[in-house]
Amino acid sequence: MSIYLDKNSKVFVQGITGSEGSYHTGRMLAYGTKIVGGVTPGKGGQKTTHGLPVFNTVKECIEATGATHQCIFVPPAGAGDALLEAYEAGVRFSVCITEGVPVHDMLKVAGTTPGMRIIGPNCPGLVSPGQSLVGIMPGHVFKEGNVGLISRSGTLTYEVVDGLTRAGLGQSTCVGIGGDPIIGTTFVDCLREFAKDPQTKALVLCGEIGGSDEEEAAAFIKQHLSHMPIVAFIGGRNAPPGKSLGHAGAIISGSFGTPQSKVSAFQAAGVPVADRPSQIPELLKERMAARV
């Protein structure tokens, strides 16, 4: 097993004839992902360079192909529209790669798509190694195994996975949830799934400064996953202080999202926090050994 995605998941690509969409469709196919078609309005009836059917609308696409999983490569102005088109057509799993989606589009989408699992936006997608890859991650760094991974960062995720794989720690599913202010899937959402997945025996969480997702994840772990070996990492502990996002936001979240508050939260949940990505494999092995 794995979460969200397995070898039978039928995937379609929105924006399949664009340069990024087309390129990454090829790479996903090469990985073994079951891509069954794509959508580009106005190019319905054509075939992609990979020989996949192109449709004008999501509705036509899923009716013809039976696809259930969507991957979005459309420009920022169209990403919210693509998500809602898919939602109204009945799609309930969507990965939005697009960077720069207006936050208000995501506010609207998040508030009006109950029951839809959205990964991202501004994320690298997810991989269930050996089964399926949806997104833009470099497939060759992954290896099938028992470690689940959740990460807010894109490129840093690859770094961490690379380290796990080199250390012989394969993965069940790796989810890049994205770093935008409003994302469809949080740490806790993923933790709930991993908690139900028999393949997953250990977890790695890659957080970042800002927001309070890590604190919430730590609280969830403390309550529901204290039996599982888990290691965390917080990126950006030497990051520049950005321009203030406004006092109001910080006050609301009840947290200024400092690295320290996140580290403390994880430690309080019994989760060690690695100082650098390269420490993660050994820390995880220690935890796994301790439980056996």
Binding site: D105, G111, M137, L156, E159, G236, A239, L245, A248, R276
Partner: protein, 389 residues
């Protein structure tokens, strides 16, 4: 994109939020001329993005034209005092001349994006007119929140409930729901991440007016609002933002720290991780630099020159883990950039892996560059080179 007070109040007017009568002026003479024509009690306020105008003496009163000219001159004579984010302070290029209002009460109201609930959040406290962080320390229980269901949108009951919940003075009650409606309209219509009124004043004659305006517009939504181009042009960028913008990067993609190890990576997460690695290896970071998704030769050259010409870097650690970024293209970019740049040369430490890494490494090798294997190794080498250089 943060707006200045006069810009924010212009949006307030468009959205039906009551503001005091005012005039935006560029010179002390303009101020004097306006007061000459409009006798009364006026307040003259520096138009800057930095906070703390009152404490810095950049808000002054005037009751006639001569006084108006004098205080305007005083305000504009010196920039805003520097702070950590603005080490040079901020120049004062214009002023807002505004009707003074007789204050009965001051409240605070804001709408912002709440990450946890994924909803717009309306925040109210009856303690306005002071720093909101201070209020949060002294009267945390005074804050009342409503997370707006975006499917339903804003309706007056939200404002009504908040006014009662936050125990705003009774004088606010009737006007408050419509003011929050205007703020919510502004929030969505212009794609704001923050709309803040502090203080929201109840005047002695029973009006409720926004005495200040703080608005942050979502940069990602700016393409829908060409009308902001003009304002964007006059907004002050700090030095780092200016440099990033000139190099064709997003204004948040570059920041300097004064150390000797330059960094450049693809993706904010890896860029932060690269800095962490340099720190862990005992080095001092020269800069944060996220080269972004498509790193072609021109982009790489711009970034290289940005680090070489504007930081104290003695070495540049380039850390690329390809996903959407393709290793071969970055490699080509690095080779071409180093060939073409006219700036002085500093040593490069390159780490290149991920998508198309084999081809990328081949291209680098052909140009005589040998990439390191891991991020930690790269950081170590870069720190050594910086120390030895």
């Amino acid at each position: 994109m943060n707006l200045m007070e006069y810009q924010g109040k212009e949006l307030f007017r468009r959205c039906g939020i009551p503001v005091p009568r005012s005039q935006h002026c560029k010179t002390p003479d303009d101020v004097a001329a306006f007061i000459e024509k409009n006798p009364g009690k006026w307040v003259v306020k520096a138009q800057v993005l930095m906070g703390g105008r009152g404490k810095a003496g950049k808000i002054k009163f005037a009751t006639n034209a001569q006084e108006g000219r004098t205080v305007a001159r005083e305000i504009m004579a010196t920039p805003m005092p520097p702070n950590r984010q603005n080490p040079k302070g901020e120049a004062i290029n214009s002023l807002l001349v505004e009707e003074t209002v007789e204050i009965e009460k001051e409240a605070y109201c804001a709408i912002t994006v709440d990450r946890a609930t994924k909803k717009p959040s309306v925040i109210v406290t009856r303690f306005g007119g002071m720093d909101v962080e201070e209020v949060h320390e002294q009267h945390p229980e005074s804050f009342k929140y409503h997370f707006v269901d975006t499917a339903i949108g804003y309706w007056p009951f939200v404002g009504r409930g908040l006014a009662f919940g936050a125990e705003l003075d009774n004088g606010y009650r009737k006007q408050f729901p419509a003011i929050v409606a205007g703020m919510y309209d502004l929030f969505f219509r212009y794609g704001a991440k923050l709309v803040e009124i502090n203080p929201l004043v109840l005047t002695k004659d029973g009006r409720v007016v926004a005495a200040d305006a703080k608005i942050e517009i979502d940069d990602d939504g700016l393409f829908r609002h060409p009308e902001f181009k003009e304002w964007q042009a006059v907004l002050p960028l700090d030095e780092d933002e200016k440099l990033a913008s000139e190099a064709g990067l997003g204004i948040r993609n570059f920041r300097r720290f004064g150390g000797t190890v330059g960094t450049m990576a693809n993706g904010a997460g890896l860029a932060m991780g690269t800095m962490d690695a340099v720190k862990n290896a005992g080095g001092e970071i020269a800069n944060f630099l996220d080269v972004g998704g498509g790193a072609d030769a021109q982009r790489v050259r711009n970034c290289y020159e940005l680090v070489v010409n504007h930081t104290a870097a003695k070495v540049l650690f380039i850390n690329i883990f390809g996903g959407i970024t393709r290793g071969d293209e970055v490699a080509k970019g690095i080779v071409t950039a180093m060939k073409e740049t006219t700036s002085r040369k500093i040593p490069l430490v390159i780490r290149l892996t991920g998508t198309n890494e084999v081809e990328g490494r081949r291209i680098l090798a052909e140009a005589g560059m040998t990439p390191v294997e891991t991020m930690d190794e790269g950081a170590k080498r870069a720190v050594e080179l910086a120390a030895g250089a």
